[in-house]
């Protein structure tokens, strides 16, 4: 079976993968938008977790194939798997299926409403529950023929949730997991390119094909200066620890920069766009009001019933019924695209953000009689967004030593290469990345007419300065 993907072209699926794709939990992803409420800003942003899942499977396969080809016979040794066709096929299949199902636990509107998952679970933990409850039969009847067990796949998504993995498979699964979800991973490569493609911005595009071609395995150990005399025996034992990590050959440095810059700009321009964020925040407040106990249900079957369509229907119901004032007010704004205005924005946040938020809400409500603190005032920071750029622990290997290193791979050699700079952290290679600032943005929204914005900004600014001043309320 093949599917035409708008980003990668034709993606081929095996019979087992097709059966998984046709299952209800996978089909549900057709109704979960990839980027929450971004379509309120970028009308093209209506793509879903369904196509991202297929794309991630495609990219992870490319990554696996490049490493397999590049390292030849050493590939099996690094992955601690048997050097036969069956083992290679089996681990490739585990990676592909894990990539395909990695997002089935997502809540409606993806990350936007992730904070409402039951019992503070992560979407990865819910993915595992869904796998065990809904897809067990496909695994036992079909995937097992390829040697793929449900728990192998689960390990790649949430190793903590898994108790049954063969010890001899653990090293390979650990490394495969970093292909799906690591510093340079298939998930990220796919969503940056896909989001850019659909939205119509170019920030998220980078030469990912070149990046994949320059991937390699880096033998990693610790070279920090220590002088540790408290744990000499353990330090001695640790010297035998070499961890294989996914790295990049020096020739791929600019594509890594491209990936990290793409992440940075996409965060600022799309994922943390001020208008998109206010719709995310309003949606969360709406759902807290209308969902039983303010969260999605704990029961897997009931949880799977929730998708974007169900939430949109809830919004429409509240808009029509006017039963609950708070839910109605927000529903009306969501339907009519009528959001509170951005009245204040600064780089840098007060440490005591909860205190700051409380005071802003109080002072704005005092000043403007018609503001209802429950639905008219919102304070936002990147902390409230479930997605944010992270620091990157990426290692760059000089092209000419990439293959040689894994062939003669021992502690002394690895230390030597790390010390002489033939394996280096990306920071050493890229002044550009070194200068990327942390994203610390503080925003205040209020439902005010344009003419009142300046006055609201002054109030916010005064409080902000009180918190930030030397000896001020932040300390």
């Amino acid at each position: 079976m093949e599917i035409r993907d708008p980003v990668h072209g034709f993606v081929h699926l095996s019979d087992t993968e097709r059966e998984i794709l046709d299952s209800f939990p996978m089909q549900r992803l057709r109704n979960i938008k990839q980027l929450g409420m971004s379509h309120y800003v970028y009308p093209g942003s209506t793509h879903t977790r369904f196509e991202h899942s297929i794309g991630t499977m495609y990219v992870s396969t490319q990554m696996f194939n490049v490493l397999e080809r590049k390292h030849g016979k050493q590939f099996s040794r690094i992955f601690s798997i048997k050097d036969d066709e069956y083992s290679h096929r089996r681990f490739r299949a585990i990676l592909r299926i894990a990539s395909l199902v990695h997002d089935i636990g997502h809540a409606p509107f993806s990350h936007a409403t992730e904070g409402l998952l039951p019992e503070n679970k992560t979407h990865e933990e819910i993915t595992i529950e869904i796998l065990r409850n809904e897809l067990e039969e496909i695994f036992s009847k079909k995937a097992s023929r390829l040697g793929v067990r449900l728990e192998d796949v689960a390990f790649l998504i949430s190793p903590e949730s898994v108790t049954e993995v063969d010890e001899e498979d653990a090293k390979a699964l650990h490394l495969l997991r970093t292909i799906l979800s690591g510093e340079i991973d298939a998930d990220r490569i796919d969503y940056l390119n896909r989001d850019s493609h659909h939205i119509g911005v170019i920030y998220g595009k980078f030469d990912y094909m070149r990046l994949i071609e320059t991937l390699t395995i880096v033998p990693y150990t610790d070279v920090f200066p220590s002088g540790d005399i408290s744990n000499t025996e353990l330090a001695e034992l640790i010297t035998q620890t070499i961890e294989p990590r996914i790295g990049v050959e020096a020739g791929g440095i600019h594509t890594v920069e491209g990936l990290i810059l793409a992440r940075y700009f996409m965060f600022l321009q799309v994922y943390f766009h001020p208008v998109r964020r206010i719709y995310d925040l309003m949606l969360i407040e709406f759902l807290k009001e209308v969902l039983p106990n303010g969260t999605y249900p704990k029961n897997v079957n009931e949880y799977l019933d929730y998708d974007d369509i169900k939430i949109i229907n809830l919004i429409k119901e509240q808009y029509a019924s006017k039963d609950c004032k708070k839910a109605y007010t927000i529903a009306k704004r969501l339907v009519e695209r009528d959001h509170p205005r951005l009245v204040f924005e600064r780089k840098g946040m007060p440490l005591k953000i909860e205190e700051f938020e409380k005071e802003i809400t109080e002072k704005l409500s005092e000043k403007f009689d018609n503001l209802d603190p429950e639905v008219d005032i919102y304070v936002d920071t990147p902390r409230k967004a479930s997605f944010k750029p992270e620091e990157s622990e990426i290692y760059i290997v000089r092209d000419e030593v990439s293959e040689e290193l894994v062939e003669k791979w021992d502690y002394t050699r690895t230390i030597q290469e790390l010390k002489n700079g033939r394996i280096q952290h990306i920071r050493k290679h890229s002044e550009l990345l070194e200068s990327l600032p942390n994203i610390e943005i503080l925003r205040v929204y209020a439902k005010l007419p344009k003419v009142e914005v300046l006055s609201a900004e002054r109030i916010c600014d005064k409080i902000y300065k009180e918190f930030h001043a030397e000896g001020g309320r932040d300390g």
Partner: protein, 173 residues
Amino acid sequence: MDKFVMILQAIEELNKVGSWSGNTHIQKTIELAQSLVEEDIYAFTLHHYGPFSFELREDLDALVGAGFVKKQTDEYGYHYTLTEKGRKYLEKNKPDENVRTAIARISERFGKSSTLILELISTIDYVTKKFDAKTDEEVAKIVKRLKPHFDEKTIVHGIKIWKEMKTSFNFRK
């Protein structure tokens, strides 16, 4: 307790013992300190390199942004020191006695250890809290599954050191 004070105290103690005082040292010191005093101020999850708290990392960034902590870079990566503002804040707002002692003990014991040792010890600690492992063998088995690059002998030795640390802290309490 003011959670920022706990981070500032960890940076202060780590620097005092001549630690590298990087991200990993701060993360793992606080994870172990929380375990010793049996408080969960920060929620940790198992990341690629052992227990990790996203909230703690954000708070550390916020402290840098607000001028309490200085983030420096050199060939080994990022490391952190207190600024004058951070020092003054810490003088005025000390963490609880128990937390202070726990951070000091861990810094003395692991402040100069490699990040791999910290990864191992904090993973052992995490496993004992989050998994239903009753014996050392069970703990070792789970750690081996989650961190397969450590060999059995290293994990067993790590468990021994972790136990010593826990016992010594209880004794001092």
